[in-house]
Structure formats: C-alpha cells, structure tokens
C-alpha cells in the first residue's frame, strides 16, 4: 500500500474525511448523522493516514494520544450532564440557548456538546485500536 498514488492522495482524502466527519456530527440532530457516525469517519481517516504515512506521522499529527482524546470526550459528555445540575435541573436535562452570532441564530445546546463528546470518544477509541494494530505491523 506504499504506492505513490496512495501516498499522494491520502492526505487530501484524510482532510476531506475529517472535515466531513465534523459536518456529519454537527448536523446530526436534524439530518442523518451524529457523534457515533462522525467519530467512526474520523477514526477511519486516521487509520487511512496511518496506512499511507505510517503510525508515527499520525501520532505527531494528532498531538495527543488517541485515548486522551477519548477521555476528553467522555469528560465533555459527562460535564454537559452536570451542567444541568448547576441550573437546578435533573442530571442531563437538555439546556438550550439561541444566541444571535453575526446576525445568524445559532442553536447551542447541551445535547449538541454531548454529541461532540460522543464524537471524541468514538474517534479516540477507534483510532487508538486501529493505530495500535497498525503499529504492530511495523508501519506497512
């Protein structure tokens, strides 16, 4: 899989996939998508990058260990639930706000950040699995 074509195309493909994964995650509340799917797409992107450029490159690009990213996601997801407690609601009650940002109404909500947490957990865990298995292969 070390062909020139693959090595040339894959960075483009990977960045597109990552962008798409964010898009899919954020639109999830209203259209097909969501944190699970987005996370899987992002993890696939990293796995692909690992196959083409070797795992060390991916690890450098990620800056953090994938499991650290997953841990951050779990923290974020749990924190959105605790935020409801601070507003004297039951744990994980959805909170919504619709601020005007640059003249556009933006829907901010705890479920959205929860979904982003899911995204990070799935991406981190799956990427960690794929990368550690690729690493065993000695960076094919």
């Amino acid at each position: 899989m070390n062909t020139i074509i693959f090595r040339t195309i894959s960075p483009l493909l990977v960045s597109l996939m990552l962008l798409f994964s964010v898009f899919i995650t954020l639109r999830g509340h209203n259209e097909p998508g969501g944190g699970f799917i987005g996370g899987l797409i992002a993890a696939s992107a990293w796995a692909l990058y690992g196959l083409s450029h070797g795992v060390p490159t991916v690890r450098r690009a990620l800056r953090f260990h994938p499991m650290e990213i997953a841990g951050f996601g779990l923290f974020l997801a749990a924190a959105t639930g605790i935020l409801s407690l601070l507003f004297a609601r039951n744990f994980m009650t959805g909170l919504w706000a619709f601020p005007q940002i640059l003249g556009v109404e933006v829907a901010l909500s705890t479920p959205m950040f929860f979904d982003i947490g899911v995204y990070f957990v799935v991406m981190g865990s799956m990427a960690s699995i794929a990368l550690s298995l690729e690493e065993r292969e000695g960076g094919v």
Partner: protein
C-alpha cells in the same frame, strides 16, 4: 403467666454497649495498654449492676419486654424479654464477662493482637446477651448466629496454626448448621402459632403440642440445641475449641455460649416439654453425652482438655435433667447450671493461669505449685470442691437437687448414669485442682510464680460467689433459682433447697456413694487413663475423625462435579449453551401452542430480495471459507448487505454506521489475521460437524420462530409515538434517532461511550503488554522468537 410489662429503655443501651466497646477496644488497647482491660471491664460491670436492679421485680414474678421495629414489613422486631430465665443468664454473661475481660487483660498482656482479642470477646458478650434476652424469634436467630461467628473468630484467633483453623471451621460448621435448624424451627413455630414472639409462644404450648408440626419443630429445636450445647455425637467441636486462648474457653466454651442450647431447651420447655418424645430423647442423648464426656476427660492429660470434656459431660447432665421435665429436675438443672458456671469458669481460669505462669498445661509435668501460687491454689481447691459436689459449696446443693430430680422420676437407669458421671467429675475436678499443686515441685518450662491481679481475681471471685450462694442460699434461691425455674417450668415453682440436709434422704445416700466412688477413681486415675487410651486407639475412629472424612469427601465430591461440568473445553460449554438456548426458545413455543402461523402477505421487492440473497451468500462463504482472505471478504459482504438493508428500510443512520464499522472491521481483521492461520477448513470430525450444525440450526430456527411470532402480535407504538411527538417540540431535533441517543436516552449513551472507551483502553493494554516467552512452546512460536 402474667402479661409482660414494659422494660426500662436502658436495656437496649446495655445490648448496644458491648458492641460499641468492641469497636473501641483495639484503639483503647493502643492508647492505654494494660489499663485498658480495667476500663473495658467497666462496660459489663455497669451492665451487671444495672441488671441486678431488676432482680427484685422479676423474682416477684414480673416479665418485661421492650423492642424496636426492625423489619416491619415482615413483622420482625428487635425485642427483648426479661424474665427469671433470661435475667439469670444475662447476669451470668455480664458478671463472668467482667471477670473475663479483666482476665484477658492479664492473659494477653504484650500480645500484639490483644486489642483485636478484646474486641472479639466484647462482641461475643454483646451477641450472647442479645441471645438470652431476645424476645423475637428472628432476633434470637441473628444473635445465635452472631455467637457462632464470634466463637469462630475467637477459636481461630491464633490463625497461623492449622489446628486452630480446623477447630474454628469445625465449630462454625456444626453450630452454624444448628443455627439454620433454629431458623427453620422459628419459622415453623410461627406457622403453628401465628407469632414469632417468644413471650407469646411460651403461652401457646397446647397449640404446638397438638399441632402436626410438633415433631418437625421438636427435631429442629433439638438440632439447634444439641449442636450448640455439644451433645453426642456433635460434641467434637467443643474439645477442639480449646485451641482458643484460655479466656475464651472459660467464657464461651464453659460458662456461657455452650449453654445457649440448654437455654433454648429451657426457654421452649413450657411449649415442647413433657411429651413422650421429650422425656425419651433428651435423657437418652444427655446420658450418652455425660458418660462419653467423663470417660474422655479421664483419658486427657491436658488441663484444658480435661475440663472441656467435663463441660461436655455437664451439658449432657443438664440436657438429661431438662428431659426428665419434672419440677424437681428443673430445679436441679437450674441449680447445676449456675453452680457449673461458677466452678467451671474458675477452673478454666486456673488452668490458664498455670499455663501462663508455668508454661505447660500437661498435668503429668506439673506438681508442687502450691507454694509458688497460693491464691490460685485456694481458688482451684474451692472450685473443685464445688465441682465434686461437696459442702459447703453451691455445687453440693445443686447435686442434691439434681439427685432428687432423678430419684423422683423413678427411672433407675438415669440415677445410675448420673451417679457414675458425677463420680468421674469428682475425679477430674480434684485432678485439675490438686495434681498441679501438691507433691514435690516439678521443673516447669517457665519459672512458676503467682499470676498478677487480673489473673487471680476471676477464680477467686467465682469461688467466693460459689461459697456465698450456698451460705446465703435463701436469698440466692428466692432471687435467681426460683424465678428461673418458674420460667422454665412455665408456672410458679417454690424450690426448697437446703445446704444442710434435714434428714438422711435418698440424694444424700447417692452423694455419699458418689464421693466414695470418686475417691477410688482418683486413686486409680493413672491406670484408668491408660486403659481408656488403649480402648480409644483400639477403636481408632471417632466423630472427630468422621468430621475430617466428611469434609474430605465433600471436597472430593466438589472436585468431581467440577471436573464433570467444567472440563475446560470451550466447545462443550458452547454446545451446552446453544442447545439450551434452542430448547428455551422452541419448547415453550411448541408446548404452549404459540408457534407462529405460516407467513403470508407481501413479497420482497427485487432489490430487497437481491440484497438478502447477497447476505446469505456472504454468510455461507464465511462458513465454508478455506483461507483467511476469503473469510474476511465474505464477512465484509454480509456486513455491507446488512447496511444496504438498513438503507432500504428507512434507517440511513444505521446504514452509515454499519458501513463505517464494516470497513474498519475488515481493516483490523486483515491486520490481525495475517498473523494467524485459519488452517484447513475445519478440525472437527464429521459427526461433530453434524452435531454442531444441528444444534446451531435448531437455535437459528428458534430465533426465527420467535421473531416471526413477535411480528405477528399487535405492535405497541406507545414509546415510538412518544418520541415522534416530542423529538422536535421539546428536544428541538428533527432526526428522531439522534434525539433519542443524545437527549432522551443520553444517560444510556453515556454508559455506552464509557464501554467503548474501556474497550479501547483494554486493547491498548493488551497490545502493549510485553510478549513473554510462550507458556506452551511449540515449534511454530519457537521459530518466531
């Protein structure tokens, strides 16, 4: 019997105090050291004093109760009953408890675990107090078990020795089994009378004796009493319990806990007593226990074991007396129980002091200690006189009373057994009290000298009490013996005991015979010991060996069962599981006539049929695949087919996820499986493949039939409608699936992503573990290394 009046509230405090003190004991031991025993002894002493204030009222015939609701839904209360029987026992427990706590302080001085020991002793005291004072049957059971457990902890206190562990386990097994009998008995009594409150049960003797449940209740109560009070052949745990430190033997295994069985028989005597079963079975077992115990006592050379065997014998004597069931016999039992608690407790403490100061308990290696240990010697002598049943001690009064009981019953066999047993106890009493002290001094492992105050005060006080009870017999009789005997009999009794016999009666003659036989026995002790030892080794088997054999057989049986059901072959477990699943699915469907009807209706569209066919082909290809690559690709095919099915049936989210997962699956399978050999098609013989296929097909059929049946019953849309209605209106989302995941069921999702994360961590750990040398080296891995 008078209806119970309300007891003072501090009774509950008395019950709680020992447990609190037990918690404090280890801390206190660390701070105060030797003084802590004196501080801790204040707890039982205060309880004893407080309980004493109840004596006048109770001896006037009053009964008192107090309690708390414990488990109201089942009518279980934590309730307390104070009458002549329970108050006397409670006084024994707290009074002797005070002396034992002090004694423990001296005996365990400098022991690193002394605090723990004190805690156990106090906890036991609390449990025992709860046992004798309990009014509710369940409270009684809980406290009964608590005494078994604390006894276990105390016997196994020196847990580094296998003998102590064995003794502790044996005691727990035997008395624990008895505890279960007690629980069953309480439940059955509750069924027969409609109440589990002892003070009410005692009044409903007619109901129970006439009930069909009488025999089961009787047997269960005997099971509980005979295990706890060490009746033949369940007595073996008691001599073995001498592995415990001596304060434990003195307190639990002579003065208090072993009397719990006797207490139970006494408590239920008004209910169960007097029937032919009662007056036959109890004297039979009691007599056998008396004779066994005394003969075994003759055989021993260890002071503690000699005493332990006579304790077994005394318990047998008590059971015999309760079994006779007449007023005189009950008075004899009550008197003997009290006398025994005084003299046996004292003798055990003496034995412990000798052991502590001289370094050995072997009677053949002791002698001439009277000069070195004068106080202990006098205490021992006083206790032995009481044990031998000689005036002017309470033991004499008790023995006269019990001879009167046996004599009145007119059962000559019982009289003979009692006289023989008492003569042998006379022998042992003096053997323990005289042999170590008289004669020329013998060199002992430690240089013997008098024990400290804590060790000498206990036997001395008990000796004084034994003497005082006899000299002040009138007050003792009115204050304790009469109320206790009345409670046992279930009707007021006014015993007439005398220290100085008024005329030459039958009991006096029997006493004289006992003493004569005893003196002869004392002189013949050494040859008798040799003879019993010879007979015992000739028989070569006893209940104690039997216990080991039962335990070994149980372990062997467990190992056998484990080997059969857990042979360590995964495919057998799997086959059993799958076969069971198939049976669980198919049998109810068939036997209950719930098989789904043959389907009719819409056919799949061409594209749907095509995708399903692809899925089936993918499955088949995986099953028959010969190489890794074929298997992985086929697996991918069936996975993608499922994804397409999701698309076709309106589930784009699922399809999306499935596509991504299948892609990743194929990638990681390819990464890993390149290192593993799928090997030839299968390693199973043909019959095995046929069997597996049959079982798997049956299970598949079961799932298909279940699913078909499910889809044929009307569909409940309640939940779906709820989510449809509120997904946008309150959760502001148009994709209902996503709204359910992140909002409605967010907590579930939180759990699920945690699982995903844990799986990731586990995989990381597995990958990172350093590869060790293969545990089972094979040529293949050998090459790789």
């Amino acid at each position: 019997m008078p209806t119970p009046i309300s007891a003072p509230g501090w009774l509950l405090l008395i019950l709680a105090a020992p447990f609190l003190a037990a918690l404090l004991a280890p801390v206190l031991q660390g701070i105060a050291g030797r003084v802590s025993a004196f501080i801790l002894a204040l707890v039982p002493l205060a309880s004893f004093a407080a309980l004493l204030t109840l004596v006048p009222e109770v001896s006037a015939g009053a009964r008192m109760t107090i309690g708390l609701d414990w488990w109201p839904a089942y009518g279980v209360r934590f309730s307390v009953l104070v009458d002549g029987l329970s108050l006397t026992f409670a006084l024994l427990v707290t009074g002797i408890g005070t002396l034992i706590v002090l004694y423990s302080g001296g005996y365990m001085k400098g022991h690193p675990q002394a605090g723990r020991f004190m805690g156990f002793i106090l906890a036991f005291m609390g449990a025992m107090l709860g046992l004798v004072l309990a009014d509710d049957g369940i409270t009684l059971f809980v406290m009964w078990e608590a005494t078994s457990i604390t006894s276990f902890l105390l016997i196994g206190f020196d847990h580094a020795r296998a003998a102590a562990r064995r003794a502790a386990l044996q005691a727990l097994v035997i008395t624990g089994a008895g505890g279960l009998c007690l629980l069953a008995a309480v439940v059955l009594i509750g069924q027969a009378t409609g109440t589990r409150t002892l003070s009410e049960i005692v009044a409903s003797g007619e109901t129970i004796r006439g009930s069909a449940l009488y025999l089961p209740i009787f047997i269960l109560v005997l099971g509980a009493a005979f295990t706890k009070s060490a009746q033949v052949p369940l007595h073996v745990w008691l001599p073995n319990a001498m592995e415990a430190p001596t304060p434990v033997s003195a307190f639990l295994h002579s003065a208090t806990m072993v009397k719990a069985g006797v207490y139970l028989l006494m408590r239920l005597h008004p209910v169960l007593g007097g029937t032919p079963e009662w007056t036959t079975v109890l004297p039979l077992f009691g007599g056998a226990t008396l004779i066994t115990g005394t003969i075994m006592a003759v055989r021993q050379t260890d002071l503690k074991l000699m005493l332990a065997q006579t304790t077994v014998a005394s318990l047998g004597l008590l059971v015999m007396l309760i079994g006779v069931s007449t007023e005189a016999a009950i008075v004899g039992a009550v008197g003997y129980l009290l006398a025994h608690a005084f003299f046996k407790g004292a003798l055990f403490m003496v034995a412990g002091t000798i052991d502590h100061e001289a370094g050995t308990r072997d009677v053949t290696r002791l002698g001439g200690l009277r000069a070195a240990m004068p106080v202990t010697f006098v205490s021992a002598l006083v206790a032995a006189v009481s044990m031998a049943g000689l005036p002017p001690m309470i033991g004499f009064v008790a023995k006269e009373a019990l001879y009167l009981g046996f004599d009145e019953s007119g059962r000559t066999a019982l009289v003979v057994v009692a006289v023989a047993g008492n003569a042998l106890m006379f022998v042992i009493g003096f053997a323990v009290a005289l042999k170590p002290f008289l004669g020329p001094p013998v060199k002992t492992p430690k240089h013997a000298h008098e024990g400290p105050f804590e060790l000498t005060v206990g036997p001395a006080v008990l000796g004084v009490v034994g003497l005082g009870a006899a000299l002040g017999l009138g007050g003792f009789q009115a204050g304790l013996i009469a109320p206790m005997a009345s409670a046992v009999a279930g009707r007021p009794i006014a015993p007439e005991l005398h220290l100085i016999p008024t005329y030459v009666s039958m009991p006096l003659i029997l006493s004289a015979v006992t003493v004569a036989l005893g003196i002869v026995g004392y002189l013949l002790l050494s040859p008798a010991r040799a003879a019993v030892a010879g007979i015992q080794s000739a028989i070569g088997w006893g209940p104690d060996r039997g216990f080991d054999q039962v335990v070994a057989a149980l372990v062997a049986f467990a190992a056998l069962v484990t080997r059969i059901v857990q042979p360590g072959r995964l495919e057998l477990y799997m086959t059993a599981m799958v076969a069971f699943i198939a049976a669980a699915l198919l049998i109810p469907l068939i036997t209950l006539g719930e098989m789904p009807s043959w389907p009719s209706g819409d056919r799949p569209l061409l594209k749907e049929a095509a995708v399903m066919l692809i899925a089936v082909l993918g499955l088949a290809a995986v099953v028959v695949a010969r190489t890794r690559l074929t298997a992985i690709v086929s697996l991918g095919i069936q996975g993608f087919a499922v994804a397409v099915l999701f698309v076709l049936f309106g589930a784009p989210d699922l399809a999306f996820t499935q596509f991504m997962v299948e892609t990743l699956s194929v990638v990681i399978l390819a990464l890993v499986l390149t290192r593993l050999n799928l090997g030839e098609r299968d390693h199973r013989p043909r019959w095995q493949m046929a069997l597996d296929a049959t079982v798997a097909t049956a299970a598949g059929l079961g799932f298909a039939a279940l699913l078909l049946k499910v889809t044929q019953v009307p569909f409940d849309r309640t939940l779906t409608d709820f989510y449809d209605a509120y997904a946008r209106s309150i959760a502001h989302g148009r994709n209902i699936v996503n709204v359910i995941i992140v909002d409605f069921r967010g907590l579930d999702t939180l759990g699920e992503i945690a699982v995903v994360m844990v799986a990731g961590l586990a995989i990381l750990a597995l990958v990172r573990i350093k590869s060790r040398t293969p545990i089972l080296p094979t040529p293949e891995t050998g090459k790789r290394k």
